[in-house]
């Protein structure tokens, strides 16, 4: 591997919500009044937590995104079932900051795949 530049990196793009004095239902070019179509906020009954039912815009399975703010950091995970999401939120808030995992998930991230070999038979 060498040190030459390979990828073109564009300057950081700041994204802010629309001005707060817009009517709540206004959908401006850079924001909307709810997190997104397909993101349904659910009540958790736990202070400092968020739970969303997510229906991907491009299709695919429904999942649940759970988030909790601990020590000023947003910690989140996604789950295949609402029950697991609620259990994780409950555990995260009970155990405190030291036991909560810090999530760096890659939804469409890089990875190495399998190796395959083809042979004549």
């Amino acid at each position: 591997m060498n040190d030459r530049r390979v990828e073109i990196s564009f300057p950081a793009f700041p994204v802010t919500p629309p001005p707060a004095n817009l009517p709540p239902d206004t959908r401006a070019s850079s924001g909307s009044s709810t997190p997104a179509s397909g993101w349904q906020s659910l009540d958790t009954g736990l202070r400092g937590t968020r739970l969303y039912r997510v229906t991907p815009a491009g299709g695919g399975g429904v999942h649940w995104a759970a988030a909790v703010i601990l020590n000023g950091e947003l910690v989140h995970r996604r789950f295949a079932s609402e029950l697991h999401a609620r259990a994780w939120l409950s555990l995260a808030t009970e155990q405190g900051p030291s036991a909560a995992p810090f999530d760096l998930e890659e939804i469409r991230g890089r990875f190495r795949a399998a190796c395959a070999a083809a042979r004549k038979s």
Binding site: M1, N2, R4, R5, V6, E7, I8, S9, F10, A12, F13, V15, T16, P17, A20, P24, R27, S29, S30, G31, S32, S33, T34, P35, A36, S41, V54, A57, G59, G60, G61, H63, A65, A67, L74, H76, R77, R78, F79, A80, P101, D103, L104, E105, E106, I107, R108, G109, R110, F111, R112, A113, A114, C115, A116, A117, A118, R119, K120, S121
Partner: protein, 238 residues
Amino acid sequence: MKNILRLSATMALGALLATAASAAFESLKFTADNPLPEFPLSLKVDGTTKGSAVIAVSVSEEGRAVDFLVLGYTHELFAKSCIAALKEWRFTPARLDGTPVAVRTELTFDFTLEGAVISGNITNQFLYRNIASMNGTRLVYHPCSAAEIDRAPARIAGPAPQYAIAAEKDGVRGRVEVRFYIDEQGAVRMPVVTADTNPYLAQEAVTAVRDWRFEPAMHHGRPVLVAASQMFDFGSPK
């Protein structure tokens, strides 16, 4: 003659391991009965005995290859053969916390008259290794690195990501890096999130980038394929 596809262990290496430890990521897997690309007959007749192609593949949550991007080849016919085969492939989809997720992978196909060897690379591994030849043969097509281009691509159209007032109030903010290719027509190809801080922000960032259009990068007066990345800063600075 029947080709036998033999699979070895799936590898999830490097930074992904740390991710997998907390987010339970399971890598994409090939299905054993996938058809293999044929060695192009016309090249055999011409006396060609080996060659290579590199293809980026987008695999859906259902395990189907839904998009392809040719990243390199020693002869165009090798790439065409690969894509013809890939259209029939089935995958066991990658999973994140048990949920199937769409992923992009880059596959290298090394052809010999005896068969093909297929391997997966991490994104942009192809570029970072500065490969000028593969399988002992010079590449006649490959992406240009940033250092090689005469003119950088320039964004000419496309929306800013959506960002909800409620999301910011909820503390959903942070940086999202979207990595993608810009093809010779200036279209964004295969945007992926590599280090997102929140699934909602990742979705909004990728959705926006998909619709961006660019003046393509130029190399020696011709438009070329390049890899690019865009960082988004969601939310007001703390």
